[in-house]
C-alpha cells in the first residue's frame, strides 16, 4: 500500500526536499450563475504531503476538491500535475487551463492523476467488494485480472476487510464501506488521493477506524488533499491547513499554526465554534 513511484520517501510531515509540487493550482474560479463559489484559489501540494481544506459549508472547499478530479469544471484557472501520470502515456506534466475550452481527453487525463473518496462512499451496489476494487484497474487501466485481484486482496487485508471480499456493499457497515471506498481509490495507484468529508456520513463510533486508515496512508507517504470537519484529525494528519470561506482562501499555513493560533478573526471564530461542539 505504498505510493506508485516506489521512490523512498519518509512521509515525514513538513516540507520535503522536492522542488516542484506534485499539484499546482492557480487562480481557480467558478460561479454558478451569479453565485460565485470560487475566487482565485491557489494551491500547491508537495509529494508526500497532506493538505486539509476546512471551512463552513458553502465555502467552496468541496468544489475545489471536485475540480481536481474533473467532477466540476472551473470557469478559469490552471491545474498542473508534475511528472508522469498513473497509466500509459507520455511521462510529462499535465497542464489544464480552464480559461480555454477543456477537451474530454484532458478531463480524462486529469482523472487519471487522482482518485476520489466520497462522503457517501458511492460504492457500486451491484458489485461485490472485490469487484468494486478491481473495476478500475481491470476495465479502465487494462491490467491483468489476476494481478489486480492479488493486489486488491492485499489492500483489503490491510484495512481489515479480507473476509468481506465477496460481500455486497449493503452487507457492510458505513465504516467498512468507506474503507472499501479508500481501497478502491488506492487500487488505481493515483498520484494524489482526494477525500471529500470521508467521515461525515459515519456514525461517531465508526469514524475512528476510517481516520486510522487515512493516518496510516499519510504515514506511508501518500499525497493527499482532504476536505474535513474533523479539526483534531486535521491537526494531526495535515502538513498544511487551508481555511476557506465564501469561495476564498482566508488563511493557510502549517496545521498547528492555523488551528492553534489563527491570525484571521474569521478563522478564529470557525475553529472556536467547531472545537466547542466536542
Amino acid at each position: 500500500m505504498s505510493p506508485t513511484d516506489g521512490a523512498a520517501h519518509s512521509g515525514a510531515h513538513g516540507a520535503t526536499s522536492q522542488a516542484r509540487p506534485v499539484l499546482s493550482v492557480r487562480n481557480l474560479a467558478k460561479a454558478f450563475g451569479s453565485n460565485v463559489v470560487l475566487r482565485d484559489i491557489d494551491l500547491d501540494v508537495r509529494r508526500g504531503n497532506v493538505v486539509a481544506l476546512i471551512g463552513p459549508s458553502g465555502s467552496g472547499k468541496t468544489t475545489v476538491l471536485r475540480s481536481l478530479n474533473g467532477l466540476e469544471t472551473p470557469d478559469a484557472g490552471t491545474v498542473t500535475f508534475a511528472g508522469p501520470g498513473t497509466s500509459a502515456g507520455p511521462g510529462t506534466d499535465l497542464a489544464l487551463d480552464f480559461s480555454a475550452r477543456v477537451s474530454k481527453k484532458e478531463i480524462s487525463d486529469l482523472r487519471d492523476r487522482s482518485a476520489m473518496v466520497f462522503q457517501h462512499y458511492n460504492l457500486f451496489p451491484h458489485m461485490t467488494v472485490l469487484q468494486n476494487v478491481i473495476e478500475g484497474p481491470v476495465q479502465v487501466q487494462k491490467r491483468k485480472r489476476a494481478e489486480a485481484v492479488a493486489e486488491a486482496e492485499k489492500l483489503l487485508a490491510r484495512v481489515g476487510l479480507a473476509d468481506k471480499r465477496d460481500a455486497y456493499p449493503f452487507e457492510l457497515s458505513g465504516g467498512q464501506q468507506q474503507r472499501v471506498g479508500i481501497v478502491r481509490a488506492l487500487a488505481l495507484k493515483p498520484q494524489l488521493l482526494l477525500f471529500d468529508e470521508p467521515t461525515s456520513a459515519l456514525d461517531p463510533e465508526l469514524v475512528g477506524d476510517v481516520l486510522a486508515v487515512i493516518q496510516e496512508l499519510a504515514d506511508e507517504g501518500w499525497t493527499m488533499v482532504i476536505v474535513t470537519h474533523e479539526l483534531a484529525f486535521a491537526r494531526q494528519v495535515a502538513d498544511e491547513v487551508i481555511f476557506m470561506d465564501g469561495g476564498l482562501v482566508v488563511e493557510r499555513g502549517p496545521a498547528a499554526e492555523v488551528l492553534r493560533a489563527p491570525r484571521q478573526e474569521r478563522t478564529r471564530q470557525f475553529v472556536r465554534r467547531l472545537l466547542h461542539e466536542f
Binding site: R111, H120, F124, H126, E135, Q141, F170, E171, L188
Partner: protein
C-alpha cells in the same frame, strides 16, 4: 347450452400451434427489437443536444398518442400506396417493435435517472468514460428498477399481438377465429383463446418473479 367437447379438444391443436408459431415468436422478436430501440431512444432523450432529444420526444409522443391498431394498419395497408409493400409478418414485427420502443423508452429513461448521480461520479473517478460508466455502472442498476414496468410492457405485448390477426398474420387468435366462424361455436373458441393467452402470461409473470429475485440479491431487504 351443451358444450361441444369434441370440438374444444380438437381445436386446441390449431390454437396452441398458432401460439407457438405465431404469437410467441412475434412477441419475442418485437420485444427484443423494441427494447434495443427503446434504449437508443431513452439515451437520445437524455442527450444534451436539443435536436437529438427533440426527435426522441416526438417519436415517443406519436407512438403513445396513436392507437396500436392504427399504427399496424398504416404500415400494412397504408404504406403500399407509397410503393412500400410489406408482408404481414414484417409489417407486424415493425409495428410492434416501434410500439414497444416508444413505451419502453420512457421506462428505461426513468430507470436511468433513478440511479444516483454519485454512481456516475464514482465511475468517472475510477477513470471511466460516460459510455463505460453507462454500460458497467448505470445500466445494470437501471435494469433492476425497470424489470417490473418492462414486464408489464412484455405481457401487454403478448396480448396486443392478437391485433396481427387483422393484417392476416396466422397466430393464436386468427386460428381461433377461423374455427369459430366455421363451427359457429364462438363462446367456446374465444374462451379457449383467452385461456391460452392467460397461460402464456402466467408463465411470464413467474419468469418476472425469478428475474426480480435474481436482481435483488445486492439490495438490503
Amino acid at each position: 347450452m351443451p358444450l361441444n367437447w369434441d370440438l374444444i379438444w380438437s381445436s386446441f391443436g390449431p390454437i396452441v400451434t398458432g401460439a407457438i408459431t405465431g404469437t410467441i415468436p412475434l412477441t419475442l422478436a418485437s420485444f427484443v427489437i423494441g427494447l434495443a430501440l427503446a434504449l437508443l431512444v431513452a439515451l437520445m432523450r437524455l442527450s444534451r443536444n436539443a435536436v437529438v432529444s427533440g426527435v426522441a420526444r416526438f417519436y415517443v409522443s406519436v407512438i403513445r398518442g396513436t392507437p396500436l391498431l392504427v399504427q399496424l394498419f398504416v404500415i400494412f395497408y397504408g404504406l403500399p400506396s407509397l410503393g412500400v409493400k410489406l408482408d404481414p409478418w414484417p409489417s407486424a414485427i415493425i409495428a410492434f417493435s416501434l410500439n414497444v420502443g416508444g413505451y419502453a423508452a420512457e421506462v428505461i429513461r426513468a430507470a436511468i435517472l433513478s440511479v444516483p448521480k454519485g454512481q456516475w461520479e464514482a465511475g468517472h473517478t475510477i477513470g471511466m468514460s460516460r459510455g463505460q460508466s453507462l454500460r458497467r455502472i448505470i445500466l445494470p442498476q437501471a435494469a433492476r428498477v425497470s424489470v417490473p414496468p418492462l414486464s408489464n410492457t412484455f405481457i401487454s405485448l403478448v396480448k396486443d399481438t392478437s391485433l396481427a390477426s387483422l393484417i392476416l398474420v396466422t397466430e393464436l387468435f386468427r386460428n381461433a377465429q377461423q374455427i369459430a366462424a366455421f363451427s359457429q361455436e364462438f363462446m367456446a373458441l374465444y374462451l379457449e383463446a383467452a385461456l391460452v393467452y392467460w397461460v402464456i402470461c402466467l408463465a411470464l409473470s413467474s419468469g418476472q418473479s425469478v428475474l426480480e429475485r435474481r436482481l435483488d440479491r445486492y439490495v438490503a431487504h
